[in-house]
Symmetry: C2
Subunit: 197 residues, 2 copies
């Protein structure tokens, strides 16, 4: 009797193969064939779980968000009694490609942006994910303001958006080696200093 | 006698075809074959001017910078007596994909980032271009500070970097339709208000 495999686990392991192919050979190499080889399964197996490259990449995007959320939880769990500033800093730090995992994820993100212009489903997936994350981040900042952890006169919505997109803007210079993680982090820290008391 | 064609003009017209292919069909469609078809020339002609896809894309990146610089000059020429804030605002506005031309250019940029992870020549070209632009932008802000156009206590280098990368971070939400050009511009304007008097 063949070993039973959890379909979600299988899909996730294929998504991990997508990340590795992207990281080592670039976005254009992400074919069903290459992903199958990387995952150590047959192309038929990949096609069993994903009907198309688009479906595979959209699942990889979801899986990436789960990975980031998991790492963020772990990062927060390592902070004893985190302040609202600590939490905001941790969220922003997770957006930056500073290690092998997050660099591979940034590669997948870039692939999404490059396809979003021609494939509306990609633009929609990115919009929904980013909007959701930005809303949560803004809500956190508003709560910090209400509890007196920020300067009283900050515009929480505007400051949250500025921080969030600045962190996104720092992905590029990190990916190409123009900035070190420390330089990128210090730019974000200056903004945090301006917002939080 | 065949009409003589300026080689640089020919290369530029092929680069323009690269932009159109990227804008309408995405980064992965940028093959020598597709670009030749779009430019209305033979593949042999494209190969005469570019030995590889990489060489073609690197030239397109240079050409893109020329286009952006040209548009920036035109934008500044339309401003009567521009203040240092006007100039900074104009530079940042040119980084945003807000029309057909700049959206196509953003598509080419994304292609570069996605290849930079696996092709060092791309990372180098991006680093040099961005570093040069950021240095000029920082120098402008320093000059504005010396001439009393900014608040006296700003850190010109840090503020220039923050503005520059915030503008880069706003490329994504504009490309996928999460932000309107007005929303993106208003975030930048708030930062400019904080820096300039």
């Amino acid at each position: 009797m063949p070993k039973r495999v959890d379909p979600l686990e299988r899909r996730r392991s294929i998504a991990e193969a997508v990340f590795r192919v992207t990281a080592t050979r670039g976005v254009e190499a992400v074919s069903l064939r290459d992903v199958a080889a990387e995952a150590g399964v047959s192309m038929g197996m990949v096609q069993h779980y994903f009907r198309s490259k688009d479906e595979m990449l959209l699942f990889a995007l979801d899986h990436m968000r789960d990975r980031v959320a998991g790492r963020l939880q772990a990062r927060l769990a390592r902070l004893p009694n985190p302040t609202p500033r600590d939490v905001a800093r941790a969220v922003l730090a997770e957006l930056l490609p500073t290690n092998e995992d997050s660099r591979a994820e940034a590669g997948v993100s870039v692939a999404f942006y490059s396809r979003a212009a021609v494939t509306p489903a990609y633009a929609l997936a990115l919009r929904q994910g980013l909007r959701g994350l930005l809303d949560v981040f803004t809500e956190r900042l508003r709560a910090a303001q209400h509890s007196g952890h920020t300067r009283p006169d900050v515009d929480a919505e505007q400051e949250a958006a500025s921080l969030f997109w600045l962190a996104h803007g720092l992905v590029g210079p990190l990916l190409i080696g123009l900035y070190t993680p420390e330089t990128a982090q210090s730019l974000l820290d200056r903004h945090l200093d301006r917002i939080f008391t």
